[in-house]
């Protein structure tokens, strides 16, 4: 069923080769300028009425953000995830709050946590989770949370910290030398 749907959509939209993860879950990359029309077609014609989630993945090395729009068709028990790649340098997405009002919250979060702007989305610049945050958006890959906490918080005297990896190695594989643990 998903193969038929993708073939049908490919007649009208530029889609990459899909990843048929499971019988009920497919990932496919779409073009940013076609996203809105594609979402409307999926929602109104193909029955993908439920917006499961909207989130971003930071591909720092490639200089891209991946926006994932996951839609579900309950009657057919199929989930289709649309990936849209946008440049990290100019991270602007198209708002879809008028298609799904709940997208407003997702877009507010993406604005705050990844610094991806969605012009026109209601209250998109309002603080969502963080308060008075002036640093880089914290969910970007180049935000170093360890360095931030070392800089911001003081170490409590008398506290012992183990390197988690070394500690687990000792606990799980006490007899093995580091080289042999492969």
């Amino acid at each position: 069923m998903m193969k038929d749907l993708i073939a049908k959509l490919k007649k009208h939209y530029k889609l990459t080769e899909p990843d048929y993860r499971r019988a009920d879950l497919t990932f496919v990359t779409a073009q940013k300028d076609e996203l809105r029309s594609l979402l409307i077609a999926l929602r109104d014609i193909e029955g993908f009425t439920h917006l499961v989630l909207l989130t971003a993945v930071d591909w720092l090395e490639e200089g891209l953000f991946q926006l994932t729009y996951m839609l579900n068709n309950r009657a057919a028990n199929r989930t289709l995830a649309l990936r849209v790649m946008i440049p990290r340098a100019n991270a602007v997405g198209d708002t879809i709050h008028d298609l799904w009002p709940t997208a407003e919250t997702y877009q507010r979060e993406l604005r705050e946590m990844f610094g991806i702007d969605f012009p026109g989305s209601p209250r998109v610049n309002d603080e969502f989770i963080l308060e008075g945050w002036t640093d880089m958006p914290p969910y970007r890959r180049d935000f170093d949370s360890l360095a931030y906490s070392l800089q911001t918080y003081r170490e409590r005297p008398g506290r012992v910290t183990h390197d988690p990896r070394e500690h687990m190695k000792k606990a799980l594989y006490p007899d093995q030398k580091p080289e042999a643990a492969k």
Partner: protein, 393 residues
Amino acid sequence: MMFNLKTDRSQYPQPGPDGKLEIDLETGKYLKLWQGPNHPGITGNMSVELTVCGDEVVAGKTHVGYLHRGFEKLMERRSFIQVFPIVCRVCVPEPDFNEYCYAAAVEELAGIKVPELANWMRTLILEMGRFNSYMMFLGGISGALGLGVVGQWMTYVRDLMLDRFEELTGARIYHMFILPGGVRGHLPDGFAGRMEEVLRTAEKYLADVEKVMFRNAVYKRRTKGIGVIDPKLFEPYGVTGPNARAGGVAKDLRKDAPYLVYNELDFEVQTGKDSDIHTRVDVRYRDIHQSIALIRQILQKMPKDGPVMAKIPNVLHWQIPRGETYIKGESSRGEYGYYLVTDGSGYPRRINVRGPSYTHAMALLEHLIPGTNISDVAQLMVSLHTYPPEIER
């Protein structure tokens, strides 16, 4: 409506040219009222900023962030096995769903097949977690209406179930029992018998709840016909779980997209039709009885012996090829899911938690609040059954 008094509406805010209410606090007609973050009528650590006119709420904004710990970011710095003790912390009352969704996502991307008995054990744990979560819900909704005794009974019953959790997993709240590859152990000897005792006690207390809550005139008046969610809003606002089932839409992933061993179990999707607070509580009340029946059924049908853990790679050198997947399940509140992206390294590239409260407590609640009475906000919010950590993972 019991008190259909015609109020003078001239004092209330009028819609401006863009259709939105014009609220000018300078006029002195309106008052800002904070419900939360520390308030008996709020679910967990969140708050609702209410703008009221008289005793009617004209606008509401949800504020979260009081317990943000950056779970999703923390997970990106940890190897696949190190993530496992973090995931359960995302939801206190029902942590097992996080463990299951994360474990299943890792197993799918790493190509690990879970033994059959482990799937039965996972289903058992998830139903026990659902039962506990509903116990907290019943206590919450009765507490929001000033019926404190139900909260005390439910805390007691939940505690009995926590004893069973402790016996099975060694922990009461964060069980960390479901891990990638299977579960940590078998059922202890005589577990089914002791579980049966807990379930019988629970049924006795639930019968009392029926008497003091559902047959209580005050309770009925304060919940019937209040906080109605129009079923047309279910899709635009991403409403799932009991909130949608109370509006007559039989959304239940245990039936719609069966996972674990749900297709081998016999149960019905509980629905209502009025979509108000009373129906939402009633649907959950019936779901508790169904959870009890499911626990009995699982204990009866599950294989008696077999492995519970598949072989997993050396966890210190575990790398998963580039890929992405989404695992979902029906938690006590609605669709719960984990979106996992891997990039071929020993760390997850991105983990996103899809909690039902994300849509219910933000966009939906803000849409429902205008027009309600101040005293109805508490039960309206509790009836959506939201847990804030899912919003601010």
